[in-house]
Every structure is written in C-alpha cells, then in structure tokens.
C-alpha cells in the first residue's frame, strides 16, 4: 500500500513537472494564467488555451509565454493574436461593429423588460385608483344613509 501510494505520488509529480512553465518573473505567471483562460483555442470550439491539448494551443501558449517575457502588455498580446486569428480567439471580444449586437442585446432586452414592467405597474396603479374611488363613493353613501337614519330618530 505505501509503495502504491509512493508510486502514485511519483507519477503525479512526473506529470506535474512536464507541464511546468518557467518564467523569469513570477508575476508573469498570473498574467499568463489570465490570458490562457481568456483566449480561445482556434481549433476547438469551446475550449480555452488553458484547457486544450491541441498542438495549436500548445504553440500559442508558448507564443504567449514568449511575448510575456518580451514585456508585451496584455493588450499587445491580444492584438498580436487577433491580427492573426481574428476576434474568434477572444472569449471577451472588444465592442466593434461585428460585436455590438452581442454586447448590446442584453442591455436592450433589459431596457425592454424595464419598459414593460413600468407600463404594467402604471396600469395597475390606475386600476387601483379607480377602485379607491368607488370605495370612497360607497363609504360616503353609507355615511349618508347612516346620517339620514340618525336624523329619523
């Protein structure tokens, strides 16, 4: 049992070290992780570069590592890749003429929803108001009748 455990640990160490990416500065690693989770594998439909095992993703991860070491900003790196692989590669694309619908539609739908809510609310309030009016009428009539009853006494 302990041998099995040791063997399991050893193999997991082997696999762990195989994928280790080396950076001159550890702060680059955080940016690297952010970038590879935010960028999409061009070959696979719904995987980011971090998850994908496709050869092209490995190449692009290396490319990103190289660009990070060259002190390029995240913006420059994304620009570098979109000029080759188009906006497809961005999971969070910029707002431009092909993506305004993508970014705008949730806002537009929210606005429509709010508009409908406001209108429905206003209509209900008008109804409520008219109910109050009949109630007031009824109450004043009751008061009148009661008053006339008192006068009869």
């Amino acid at each position: 049992m302990p041998i099995g455990l040791a063997a399991a640990l050893f193999t997991s160490m082997l696999f762990g070290s195989e994928n280790l990416v080396k950076f001159s500065d550890e702060s680059l690693r955080i940016r690297y992780q952010t970038l590879i989770t935010e960028l999409r594998c061009p070959k696979c439909q719904n995987q980011n570069l971090a998850d994908s095992n496709a050869p092209i993703s490995q190449d692009l991860r290396e490319e990103i590592q190289r660009m990070l070491e060259q002190q390029m900003s995240n913006r420059e790196i994304k620009q570098h890749l979109t000029s080759r692989y188009s906006d497809f590669i961005l999971y969070r694309p910029d707002v431009n003429k092909t993506t305004y619908l993508l970014w705008g539609s949730p806002l537009a739908i929210l606005m429509i929803g709010l508009l409908i809510a406001v209108r429905l609310n206003r209509r209900n309030r008008i109804h409520a108001g008219s109910l109050d009016k009949t109630e007031v009428d009824q109450e004043s009539r009751i008061a009148e009748i009661l008053k006339s009853g008192e006068d009869d006494k």
Binding site: K43, Y85, S86, D87
Partner: protein, 178 residues
C-alpha cells in the same frame, strides 16, 4: 390595450426564427480570415530539401502564387495532393509550407506522390504558421504579385473549391500582373 401589440410575441418569434435559420448554414468552426488583404508575413526559414538554403518572403513575392500549408500527418493533405499536382501541371505556381513536420518523412512523401511545389518552406516549429493564423492543415493562400494575401481557404482545395473560390480571382490576378 392596443390590439396590434398582441401580435408582438408572434413578430418576435418570427424574427428569432429567421435569425436562427440563417445561423444554421454557418460553420461555427470557421475562423474569419484576419490576413486577407494583408501582406504575407515576414519569415526566414530553411528550405525543405536543403537545410542550409534560407528562404524568406522575398522568395514568394513577384508572382501570383498559391501557398499551401501541408504536412505528412495531415490526412486531408493526401486527398488534396492530387489536385495540387494537377494545378502545378496547368502552370499554377504552388509554394509549399511544410508545417510542423518531420523533414525525412516530408521528402519521402513528395518522392512518392510527386512534388507540385516550386519549393517547400520547412516550418518545423510552426512559427510562420502562427503568423499566418494557421490552425490546421491543409490551408491554402492565394497571393498576388505584390505578395498580398487575396484569398484563404481552410481545408481541402478540390475541383469544386477551385472553381468557386479560386479560379476567377486567379485569372484576374494573372491579368492584372500583365
């Protein structure tokens, strides 16, 4: 309430149906071509046959050419190879970009199946591939005499694709050159 407003859900449904129907014909795996209209990226890479012979973008410019990304590990390239041989026979200049491949295997492949390429660039690391936005082989680029990328095809170029996407543009570019 306005009676027309009652038809609003139906109208919305109709619009949604049309949008989704149009979407059915689109291939979600196809990337928009970022490099069409741009010059072919600069590179310095060895030739496939001769590791000491260095090639760069100047070797490509000056002629209307096809640049074909291929590899021995790419199954569809086998099918495409026949078409490329035919095109080369017809006088179309085809330049090979051997992508992330093994040099010996690639040379053997060309010996066995014929070599349609004027020359093949040997891109072992796939660096030029990244600059081109290659995400799979085969891919084929049509370049004008200025070295500008005019068309890109991801996937096999066969008779149908050549007729519908390349032939007219190729003829036009050849005419422009004269």
């Amino acid at each position: 309430m306005n009676r027309l407003a009652l038809f609003l859900p139906l109208a919305l449904f109709a619009v949604l149906t049309i949008v989704l129907l149009l979407g059915l014909d689109k291939d979600p795996a196809e990337l928009p071509s970022a490099l069409v209209g741009e010059p072919f990226p600069a590179f310095t890479l060895p030739s496939l046959y001769d590791a000491n012979r260095s090639l760069d973008e100047r070797n490509i410019a000056g002629e209307v050419v096809l640049v074909n990304v291929w590899a021995t590990w790419c199954f569809a390239c086998r099918i495409e190879h026949v078409m490329l041989n035919q095109l080369a026979e017809q006088g179309v200049k085809v330049i090979g970009l051997n992508y992330k491949d093994n040099r010996e295997a690639a040379i053997d492949w060309l010996k066995e199946r014929g070599d349609p390429y004027v020359f093949s660039i040997f891109d072992e690391q796939g660096r030029l591939g990244i600059d081109l936005g290659v995400y799979g082989a085969p891919e084929t680029y049509l370049l004008d005499a200025m070295g500008t990328i005019r068309h890109r095809r991801v996937g096999v170029v066969d008779d149908r694709v050549w007729d519908s996407e390349f032939r007219d543009l190729y003829a036009q570019l050849m005419a422009d050159k004269r």
